[in-house]
């Protein structure tokens, strides 16, 4: 009787072992992911008054949509993402291609290349800001030279944005936005380069050599062989850059603070501003939910795309 009972208990223990093993992870996820997400959703439906929190339904979302800065920020975010992701991917791919050749000191180049990645966003932003501060920035002497940049020279941090080409959509971007894209790309370049370099090095050289024997040009090799074989990595890089560009605020915080005017005010900075400067937690939570939705779309889109690729492979 006792033996049967012990055996049953042992069997049940073994049956439930996976549950116990996964429990710590689930608990951690509940604490650091699920609870904040649910709480943010709750906040987004409430408004703070001196007496406490009051349910306001979708009012916070409604107010957000009727804020002039919101639509402007959406435009800035799109422009920033296109510039940041595009520039970083293109530069990262080119540098990875160069490094994949067996050049001398390539190890040193890779080490040097990695330096921007280990510098904090805020610090990198401050350094880039110091380069272009009007009057005494290191590059200001060149940029503010009227003979180089007509008619009055270029003051990156204070120059007004050009007249938009497409209604209110902020394109072409302000010089400060271009500079922000440049600085952000500079910082993200090492990671993307190393990611692509690692992927490049997994491609068998025989394939490339045989394609050359068959008469493929350099461009054809890149287009027809390298890019298709690197596609899963390219998608991961794209996904990583888009998410970091969508959610990052450190560089903007220290480099432009959303200015001049509102020309670099992207959604993540707007979220910071509403939440942490104006302390409108309800409205900030509503914006956070919208940003989370965009993130979720990006993640699910990427996962779907990579799954399709896996199936094709």
């Amino acid at each position: 009787m006792l033996q049967t009972w012990c055996a049953r208990l042992r069997k049940r223990g073994l049956d439930t072992l996976p549950f116990w093993l996964i429990l710590p992870t689930v608990l951690v996820l509940l604490v650091v992911q699920v609870y904040p997400a649910v709480y943010t959703l709750w906040l987004s439906l409430h408004e703070r008054e001196p007496q406490g929190w009051f349910y306001v339904g979708l009012k916070n979302y409604n107010r957000l949509f009727h804020t002039s800065l919101f639509s402007e920020s959406v435009g800035h975010t799109l422009v920033f993402l296109l510039g940041y992701v595009g520039l970083t991917m293109a530069a990262g791919f080119c540098v990875a291609l160069l490094l994949s050749r067996n050049v001398r000191f390539s190890g040193l180049y890779i080490t040097l290349l990695f330096i921007p990645w280990i510098i904090a966003d805020i610090i990198a932003g401050l350094v880039f800001r110091l380069l272009v501060v009007p009057d005494y920035g290191l590059l200001s002497g060149i940029l503010q030279n009227p003979s180089l940049f007509l008619p009055h020279g270029l003051s990156v941090l204070t120059a007004v944005r050009p007249q938009p080409w497409f209604g209110q959509f902020p394109f072409p971007p302000a010089p400060a936005m271009l500079y922000l894209i440049l600085a952000s790309s500079w910082r993200a370049l090492p990671f993307i380069t190393l990611l692509l370099l690692a992927s490049l090095q997994t491609i068998p050289t025989e394939i490339i050599e045989s394609s050359r024997i068959d008469g493929a040009s350099r461009t054809q090799v890149i287009r027809r062989i390298l890019i298709p074989l690197m596609l899963p990595t390219l998608v991961v890089a794209l996904f990583s850059l888009t998410l970091s560009g969508m959610n990052g605020v450190g560089m903007i915080f220290s480099l432009t603070s959303g200015g001049p005017g509102t020309s670099t005010e992207v959604l993540s900075y707007m979220l910071y501003s509403i939440g942490w400067r104006q302390l409108r937690f309800g409205r900030a939570a509503a914006l956070a939910m919208l940003i989370a939705l965009v993130n979720w779309l990006l993640i699910s889109g990427t996962l779907r795309f990579t799954r399709v690729q896996d199936r094709r492979d």
Partner: protein, 460 residues
């Protein structure tokens, strides 16, 4: 055996996770200089200041407040030996409000008292972060001595007192005397004439906080000074924004003219308080800002070649004493008194404070004439809110006497008037002003002001 270890590991992991949810331990390390004066039985009295008593860097922007705390913490602990042990936790000036509200709402560790600017009062009040001090304050001996306008600045929309005013911080115009040998102009027309004269000499008439940085902080300084000196206002007295008025339109058109004609330097729009640089090197002749600005604007290179290079607040004080820099009222349109912003610095007790009685003792101690002037000159950086204190010796220096004359000739009032969401209004209005004066000099001022006020009022 293996299962037992797994179970132990799971319990350990669970304990670790749960421990993360526990409130942080109260700080136990005493501030420098305290340990010798506070007996072991004294209860910790925790404050949040934007100053750091442990920061002895002479180049720190906040050295005045830092030094004040270093000096006063041991004095307080000696005065309340065996009762209270003052522990100050430094907080960045632009993060304190957020941390405090978050701590109150999350039920976390809050200080017993914190230094507060009156412009943040509505924000704290709306978030339920501060205690009503009306009854207690009215029973104190110093209550009747407080400047009524300072008390008003500490009063919430519901008529209750949420902070104790200690110092009033008016705004003034700092002027390089050699740039304006006949004195700072009194009218906009005279200012434009002086600006043209300075421009022909390769100089700027003035620098000002023209960027949208710090969520529109510039609005509270030179921009508000211009608007109020033109007879403009920000509100209708009933909590609604009122921007689209002929006075405001005239003020913004005037600022636009200054910017478009190049009478102000480009660095005025760079943010990060870098507009100060143009005054430091005297390339700009004037600088409308808070009286407290004297602490931050240094070193100074006077037009006559004198260099004030102690790299601390003494530079400006020396320049004023030497007559190189002087204070002035802003220029005003006929029929209007020069305007300016005034803020109040004081104390609030957050909801959830563990030792409010310590905070009461502290406030009374600071309000005592023996300590009051030190606070006003130190963390306060302005004039005393206690009327009787303005006659004391510490406020008879050339700096304070000259500043007092200018304030008397101005009509200083809080820029936000009856607006209950000043932080939101500040960003919204400054963004519009920036658009009008810098980005789009052809835009119709009235139309944009109207849409801005409508956007704000839609949320009232």
């Amino acid at each position: 055996m293996i299962r037992r270890w797994i179970l132990i590991a799971l319990v350990f992991a669970l304990a670790l996770i749960l421990s993360a949810c526990a409130p942080p331990a109260a700080p136990t390390a005493p501030a420098s200089g305290q340990s010798t004066t506070a007996p072991a039985t004294a209860v910790d009295f925790v404050t949040w200041y934007q100053y750091d008593q442990n920061n002895e860097d002479p180049a720190s922007d906040e050295r005045v407040g830092n030094a004040y705390l270093r000096q006063m913490i041991p004095r307080f602990n000696a005065a309340f030996a065996g009762q209270w042990n003052w522990v100050n936790q430094p907080k960045a000036f632009d993060k304190m409000a957020t941390e405090l509200v978050a701590a109150v709402q999350a039920g976390g560790e809050v200080p017993d008292l914190f230094q507060m600017a009156s412009s943040m009062l509505n924000l704290f009040h709306r978030n339920g972060a501060v205690q009503d001090l009306s009854q207690w304050a009215q029973a104190q001996s110093w209550w009747d001595d407080l400047d009524p306008s300072a008390v008003q600045a500490c009063t919430g929309a519901d008529g209750k007192l949420y902070c104790i005013p200690v110092a009033e911080l008016p705004h003034v115009v700092y002027v390089w005397k050699d740039r304006y040998p006949d004195g700072f102009p009194k009218t906009p027309e005279a200012f434009l004439a002086a600006a043209a004269r300075l421009q022909s000499a390769g100089l700027y008439a003035m620098t000002f906080f023209g960027s949208t940085d710090f969520d529109g902080e510039g609005l509270t300084r030179g921009v508000w000074m211009t608007m109020s000196s033109f007879g403009g206002t920000m509100d209708d007295g009933h909590g609604n924004m009122l921007l689209n008025t002929p006075e405001n339109i005239a003020a913004i058109a005037f600022l636009r003219q200054l910017v478009q004609k190049g009478y102000v330097p480009e660095i005025s729009f760079a943010g990060g308080f870098q507009e100060e640089d143009a005054f430091k090197d005297a390339s700009a002749g004037a600088f409308p800002t808070g009286l407290f600005g004297y602490r931050y604007v240094n070193p100074l290179h006077a037009p006559n070649g004198t260099v004030y290079n102690k790299r601390n607040e003494q530079d400006m004080l020396d320049a004023i004493a030497a007559g190189d820099v002087e204070f002035s009222t802003y220029f005003a349109t006929p029929g209007h008194t020069p305007g300016c912003n005034v803020g109040v610095q004081g104390f609030s007790i957050p909801v959830g404070a563990k030792h409010p009685e310590a905070a009461y003792d502290y406030i009374n101690w600071i309000m005592d004439p023996a300590q009051n002037a030190d606070w006003v000159l130190g963390p306060g950086g302005g004039f005393p809110a206690r009327i009787s204190m303005s006659h004391t010796e510490q406020f008879q220096t050339p700096f304070y006497q000259k500043a007092a004359e200018v304030i008397k000739a101005s009509n200083c009032r809080p820029w936000y008037g009856s607006l209950e969401r000043p932080q939101e209004a500040k960003k919204l209005v400054m963004t519009t002003v920036y658009k009008l004066i810098k980005e789009d000099p052809t835009a119709d001022i009235g139309t944009l002001l109207q849409s801005t006020q409508e956007e704000y009022n839609a949320n009232n």
